[in-house]
């Protein structure tokens, strides 16, 4: 199997990027994929707080940390790397990856690459998408509309979107449904993966007694997300199994 890099990024903060990354890690774990994660929110590391066992905090602007991620791709036992890009650094990171020749290797078929682009609800996000498009041509590009924290109305719909890009992008649209606020807050406080919250596990592995109702909300929500990732064939695309699935 080819090494896979899945990046999760956003130009704006507060669109729930790290939350989306967490759902991806839960999804991949449920599919028995071995995953390592890089948290580029240097030096804070929100993702690391929830997935400490598999997450390393990196400063993506330094060559040393770029090497840590890219140079180990072929040698690492773990074939899937998920990188949570710091808000605002998406464009810069894509530029850097181009400069170090990463995308040439992807084009040569050495690695598989996917980008999950978490976008805000304003039409401004269409410009964001336009900026990213040249980098992801021929690669797996997921536009993630995130409804986790609110049900804000997206100012743009598929029609506007299609008119805007006139079919230049073969992007896949992914929708993350809303999660009840109280359930979301409780998971935040617990500081554990969503799946552990559902299973009543604490970060030290001990059993806890989370609210039955809140666990129910998180379980249902995770299942909806899993269905959505299945629907867009996230795993098949990353594993190059698209043809087989079709």
């Amino acid at each position: 199997m080819k090494p896979v890099v899945l990046m999760v990024g956003a130009d704006k903060g507060g669109v729930g990027k790290t939350t989306v990354t967490r759902t991806v890690l839960d999804y991949l774990a449920a599919k028995n994929a071995l995953v390592r994660a890089f948290d580029a929110e240097h030096p804070r590391g929100t993702l690391q707080r929830f997935h400490p066992d598999i997450t390393e905090v990196v400063d993506i602007t330094t060559a040393a940390d770029q090497m840590k991620m890219i140079d180990t791709l072929s040698t690492s036992e773990i074939k899937v790397s998920v990188i949570d890009i710091r808000a605002g650094l998406l464009d810069e990171t894509l530029k850097t990856l181009t400069e170090v020749g990463f995308f040439d290797l992807v084009d040569a078929g050495e690695f598989n690459f996917g980008l999950m682009h978490v976008v805000g609800s304003s039409v401004a996000s269409l410009d964001e998408i336009a900026e990213v498009l040249p980098y992801v041509k021929g690669k797996h590009y997921f536009i993630v509309k995130n409804f986790i924290n609110d049900t804000s109305f997206f100012e743009w719909n598929p029609t506007i979107y299609r008119n805007y890009f006139r079919g230049t992008a073969d992007a896949v649209e992914v929708t993350i449904p809303k999660l009840n606020e109280m359930a979301y807050e409780q998971v935040e406080l617990s500081g554990v993966p969503f799946s552990d919250f559902v299973a009543n596990r604490q970060s030290n592995g001990q059993q806890v007694n989370n609210s039955l109702v809140l666990r129910g909300y998180v379980r249902t929500w995770l299942r909806q997300i899993s269905d959505e990732y299945d629907r867009v064939g996230l795993l098949d695309r990353l594993y190059d199994r698209t043809a087989a699935a079709a």
Partner: protein, 276 residues
């Protein structure tokens, strides 16, 4: 009462019920009774009250939940014991289900208003309440009150399918009238032909029923108090009290029978899990 023999004679044909040995018998599961019906005015709150009084008379003071945040009938009947929950609020859903599932010997009774039923059963399903409750020695039981129409049987059938791991007691309320012939032919009705867990609310004289429906009348007090209560006896005569007691006695016996059957089933070794 049978008074044959001294009570010590070995030849006695009357066997006294054997008391369980507290050392050897496993702890009894506590019952979480969920009272529901498809339509309103089917006698839910009345049955919830009777269940509450049954548990009170059995020495197990129950926790009571009233899901009708507007009418609050069960709460009016048991102001000290009933908690009113508004299931449109997540906080109240937590109060209800997290208490229902708590490991405790206390019985619990929920009066599921037909307005709140859809939400109640949705949360019940999504939280996997029945499985979690049973893991904590709490036996959830749905008491579904039927009426003459086939849709009430169909609703019960769907509930039984949806909550396979939860006991369902079919409650026939004689006061609502005889089941229609058309209903008897329906698939919903026939799905319950072999259903064992069932009980009846027998008919009651309409005048006495009015008194029973007065939520301030405590049914457990009625069972405990002397039949002739003199001036403080309220609107009921001696005969009416005796009549009402025998009516309640029948229902209590039914409740006792079904809850014991459910407890026994919970305590017996689980059948082999079907391959998943």
């Amino acid at each position: 009462m049978n008074t044959t023999g001294s009570g010590f004679s070995t030849g006695s044909t009357i066997e006294r019920p054997r008391l369980p040995d507290p050392q050897s018998s496993p702890p009894r599961p506590s019952v979480a009774a969920i009272v529901a019906s498809l339509h309103g005015r089917a006698g839910k709150t009345l049955l919830a009250r009777i269940l509450a009084d049954y548990f009170i008379l059995s020495g197990r003071r129950p926790a009571l939940f009233d899901t009708d945040a507007t009418e609050r009938m069960l709460h009016s009947a048991f102001p000290d014991d009933a908690i009113v929950v508004d299931l449109t609020e997540v906080r109240d859903q937590m109060i209800l289900f997290d208490t229902l599932v708590a490991r405790s010997a206390a019985a619990r009774v929920v009066d599921v208003s037909h307005h709140a039923a859809r939400k109640f059963f949705k949360v019940m399903q999504e939280s996997q309440f029945a499985a979690e409750a049973r893991a904590r020695q709490v036996e959830p039981v749905i008491f579904h009150i039927m009426d003459r129409n086939s849709d009430s049987y169909e609703a019960a059938r769907l509930l039984r399918e949806r909550f396979e791991d939860c006991a369902l007691v079919l409650v026939e309320n004689a006061y609502l009238g005889k089941v229609k012939d058309q209903t008897r032919r329906s698939t919903g009705y026939r799905a319950f032909e072999d259903h064992e867990l069932r009980m009846t609310l027998p008919c009651l004289d309409p005048e006495v029923l009015d008194v029973v429906e007065d939520i301030h009348l405590s049914l457990s007090d009625l069972m405990r108090e002397p039949l002739s209560r003199g001036a403080s006896g309220g609107p009921l005569s001696f005969d009416e009290r005796a009549y009402l007691r025998s009516w309640l006695g029948r229902i209590f016996r039914d409740i006792h029978r079904v809850t014991r059957a459910i407890e026994a089933r919970a305590l017996s070794p689980a059948p082999a899990d079907p391959p998943s």
